[in-house]
Symmetry: C2
Subunit: 385 residues, 2 copies
């Protein structure tokens, strides 16, 4: 399933010894073609891991033969040796598959600063194990291999007319715009050029992964890749294809939100009647990053004052005294004054909806986030990730 759902792709997920748990930790996905077009969106963090620096070079010509991914080490801030490790990993894949190393994307995830000789040996060993294991049903094994603190693998498929789009994702913390701590591979047997793939992928990530802001932290290793084999021989319209890619990304983003480290609420912050989409995004993101609001949701406390205080820090067009706030269907603030009693709001369901009506325009946007919980603090203090 997932990355091997589309025709023309094989994948594998193997144990390379990078994870102390002995679980899958190296994944390999190969595009058998006939098309080899690809597009990639990278983290916007200026502190980029070695695999990001490498993959940015690879995608320059829009051609990708394979992508290799490892968990158990981010290979970020590991110096020249770390970059050579990334290069050697791509070379190992290239040699095994008979392709050019310059067409092999590399992704790593795990602890920053990990990327020494032991890391290199295990990754290269994992590649050697993965190559003979490649098969057209290997998508799930690959999805398991990229997990870090994820509690479950993330996979999604959307079926088109004679073609499909499928993908896998990992990410459980450090989720924020710029595609944070997120590795995503999406494959399709639809036939498209690199330029069209790039347009579709950027359009899709803008309204999905870029609006998932679990904890405001942006990673150094994020990479979302889209590979087209063209094996279906079908070329859907860019519009139809973009919708399918967007649907896969939205599905994966929802799975990432649902599995965010330590979270007990999946919060959708919907801002309506904004002057612009940018305003709606800014308002939603400001609320999504407000620790006091997020802690209140954890405590099932509909503390709408913290929503308004967060909105007040934005540059969005609005009148602070003409804003409505509705939580799980109960309007608790109307035109900047208390409306229905907070006690009417039931915040016990995991799914939490915050509706902010700015009353100045027609634009809208929804930001996905999570609450701030004891478990979030525990996982991120006790676990060096």
């Amino acid at each position: 399933m997932s990355v091997t759902n589309a025709a023309g792709f094989v994948a594998a997920g193997v144990v390379a010894g990078l994870k102390s748990t002995g679980k899958n930790d190296v994944a390999l996905v190969q595009n058998l073609g006939p098309n080899k077009a690809a597009a990639v969106v990278f983290t916007s963090n200026r502190a980029k891991a070695n695999p990001i620096i490498w993959s940015q070079q690879v995608i320059g010509d829009g051609i990708v033969e394979a992508i290799v991914l490892n968990s158990g080490g981010a290979n970020c801030y590991t110096g020249a040796f770390g970059f050579q490790t990334t290069h050697a990993t791509a070379e190992a894949v290239a040699e095994g598959l008979g392709v050019s190393a310059g067409d092999v994307l590399v992704c790593s995830t795990g602890l920053i600063g990990v990327g020494g000789q032991d890391f290199r040996d295990k990754v290269i060993g994992g590649v050697a194990t993965a190559i003979p294991a490649l098969n057209d049903d290997g998508g799930h094994d690959a999805a398991l291999a990229i997990m870090t603190t994820d509690s479950k693998p993330k996979e999604a498929v959307v079926q088109g007319a004679g073609w499909s789009v499928g993908g896998m994702a990992k990410g459980a913390g450090m989720l924020a715009p710029g595609l944070a701590t997120m590795l995503v591979v999406i494959t399709t047997d639809a036939l498209l050029s690199s330029a069209d793939l790039d347009a579709a992928l950027r359009s899709a990530t803008r309204v999905t992964f870029d609006r998932l802001d679990s904890d405001g932290c942006m990673s150094t290793n994020d990479q979302v890749s889209l590979l087209s084999s063209g094996a279906s021989g079908v070329s859907p319209s860019l519009e139809v294809f973009t919708a399918a890619v967007t649907a896969v990304c939205a599905d994966l983003a929802a799975q990432l939100q649902a599995d965010a480290e330590g979270a007990s609420h999946n919060i959708s912050i919907e801002t309506i009647n904004a002057a612009s989409e940018d305003d709606a995004v800014e308002v939603g993101r400001s609320v999504a990053r407000n620790n006091l609001f997020k802690a209140a949701v954890f405590g099932n406390d509909p503390n709408w004052g913290r929503v308004l205080a967060a909105i007040g820090t934005t540059t969005a067009e609005f009148d602070p005294y003409d804003v409505d706030v509705t939580m799980n269907g109960v309007r608790v603030c109307r035109s900047g004054e208390p409306d229905r009693p907070a006690d009417d709001v039931d915040l016990t369901p995991r799914a939490t909806h915050v509706l902010i009506d700015l009353k100045v325009g027609t634009a809208t946007a929804t930001i996905l986030t999570n609450d701030l919980t004891h478990d979030y603090v525990h996982e991120n203090s006790a676990y060096s990730s």
Copy 2:
């Protein structure tokens, strides 16, 4: 002490019934002159509480006779009735003291949305109790009355040559630039004009309260006021006076940091060799707001990768691969590579020092923050504040 240390000031702190604990909750400070000059710095949050809107009008002419403060309710987002309550509070003070209501600053702190009839009655009742209680040793009682989740009152005094500056502060959460959830009153018997007071206060808050960023959240009610009685008859140079006000603000800011809700570490993030002071502030603030970094410090985990990931999200001038990070004296990252082992870092002391060397210029700045702890989550989920 504190606001009554300088000659020419009387103060009181009384029980008005706003706090369920029955502790002091209304404070009053009167300037007996002969000088009545003042300056105020307000929250930069666009969602401003009624007392902020009122006080911004009061300070227009630079003359302040008295300042009244309450805990137990922020009187923010309480509609027209709430603003009338603020107005009525100033009128009650004015009538009792024989001054103009237009020269009475009002401050409120507590839960947003609280400001109904009961709140009004209690605040006005508190004013009636406070006026006869005004005395030249009432500073401590006043400091107690403005506490909310603070575990202790905050007071500071700096002695000049024949004059002094003293102040009180409250604030334990929602501390962020824009003077968040912070009420501060500073008094001096030095003789200065409103314009000089304003210059001194802005200079002081810029490098003290504005660099305290406990949890990235900005309040709707922050107000820092500086009142001059001129009772000493001494007019120090603006430079000397500014240094004294800065020292009082720095002392109070350190007390706020030390008493931040649920915190177990006081973290100083010092950025050196930045291209500009703005860059140094941006870098420090980005690290101070990184939940993953803050949770790691709580767990005594010197996770320097999270520091670099946070720096990477800024616009500051730097080379991601030529940055040094030192934690409590141990350089764990040198030029973007691991240096001394993280195990050498002892993060058990409450005082935590993070030194970031950007190696591009000569500017420096220090941001004060706290760790992200179970107690922070608990206090802000279980306590509606």
